[in-house]
Symmetry: C2
Subunit: 208 residues, 2 copies
């Protein structure tokens, strides 16, 4: 076996372990990840799994990386094909709402916030960084609405990003309790009202 083939095989095995671990974390959380059952699930020994991830925490961090990539690939990248402004912001919000269905209510990233926000360490640091970056992405999408003349330059982009995040959370919350479609319908109405309330409020000073 050439060293290149060995590297490819190693990468494929790592991917297979990660896929399995991601699936477990979706339902049981990152704290529900144990190397033993994971090794059994992928048909390897525990030491075989440890050869790819030096520790349980390394594995948890790798699952978070994968969750982050999937989230960005599902929610953000398709929206970037939309024109800048409210059309793109709405595309992000719609895909984000849809993410609740895609993940069947078990978002690893959201679960990780509950699991690690009060536990200092590498996992918490990862979570805080990812949450900050995502909030910046949202604030930037709001800024593009300002640049497009759809919102006033005085709009507090971080405040609106915060409120949009709240809508994603309540859609996610309600989807698992009362059904996805009803939750998304309410979420969409709320987003349109929220955006309009910012646009209308901002329109007042320009009339003065």
């Amino acid at each position: 076996m050439s060293s290149l083939t060995a590297t490819n095989k190693g990468a494929a095995t790592r991917e297979a372990i990660l896929d399995q671990a991601y699936g477990i974390a979706c339902s049981a959380g990152l704290e529900g990840l144990s190397i033993g059952p994971l090794a059994t699930a992928v048909g390897m020994s525990k030491s075989g799994v440890f050869a790819h991830f030096g520790s349980r925490e390394d594995l948890q961090l790798a699952v978070l990386d994968k969750a982050g990539e999937r989230f960005v690939g599902f929610v953000l990248l398709p929206a970037l094909k939309q024109p800048r402004g409210v059309v793109r912001l709405r595309a992000i919000v719609d895909a984000w709402f849809d993410w609740s269905r895609h993940t069947d209510g078990g978002c690893v990233l959201l679960g990780a916030v509950s699991e690690y926000d009060d536990r200092p360490g590498a996992l918490r640091d990862w979570v805080v960084e990812q949450q900050k970056r995502w909030r910046q992405v949202l604030a930037q999408a709001v800024q593009l609405c300002i640049d497009a003349g759809e919102l006033d330059p005085d709009t507090d982009t971080e405040q609106l990003a915060f409120e949009i995040y709240g809508l994603a959370l309540i859609v996610h919350h309600d989807a698992g309790l009362f059904g996805f479609d009803a939750a998304v319908a309410r979420g969409r109405r709320a987003f349109e009202r929220l955006f309009r309330s910012y646009a209308d409020a901002d329109a007042v000073p320009s009339l003065a």
Copy 2:
């Protein structure tokens, strides 16, 4: 020992077990509750604990009851002393935001939604019922704003209750990540804007 004293002692022991179990559930979730470590923590045998709670699920349901009572006692009851309308609604929202600090980010009720929304059974039934009741309480508090003439009779009380719930979720979310005070400040601004946007939007048709 008279039978009355025995009953009192039994009730006190049950309370002590529940208090301990509630504390565990705040940080580890209801699924993190095991009879063994709980019995050790309260200095009893496992069978001693089982004498008070027939099963682990019975114990989990009793912890949920306790969590529900504490939540209502902290968030709703003080607000009922406020006059009906936006003053009372704001008092509920403020206390709800404060609940995130009170529970140090570990709300058993919110955790139970994540844990059980996709697992049919008595625990999910309890959670769905409690969530429905709380949403009704919020919608009723909105209705009182309508009755007080602060919102238009056409206001969709369930929709506004849904949006207010989203604010409580994002405050709770941000409090653990970025600090309680900043999260609550944003939450309060968002609530005032949200309420005003409903009040203003409702004012438009009355001008026509």
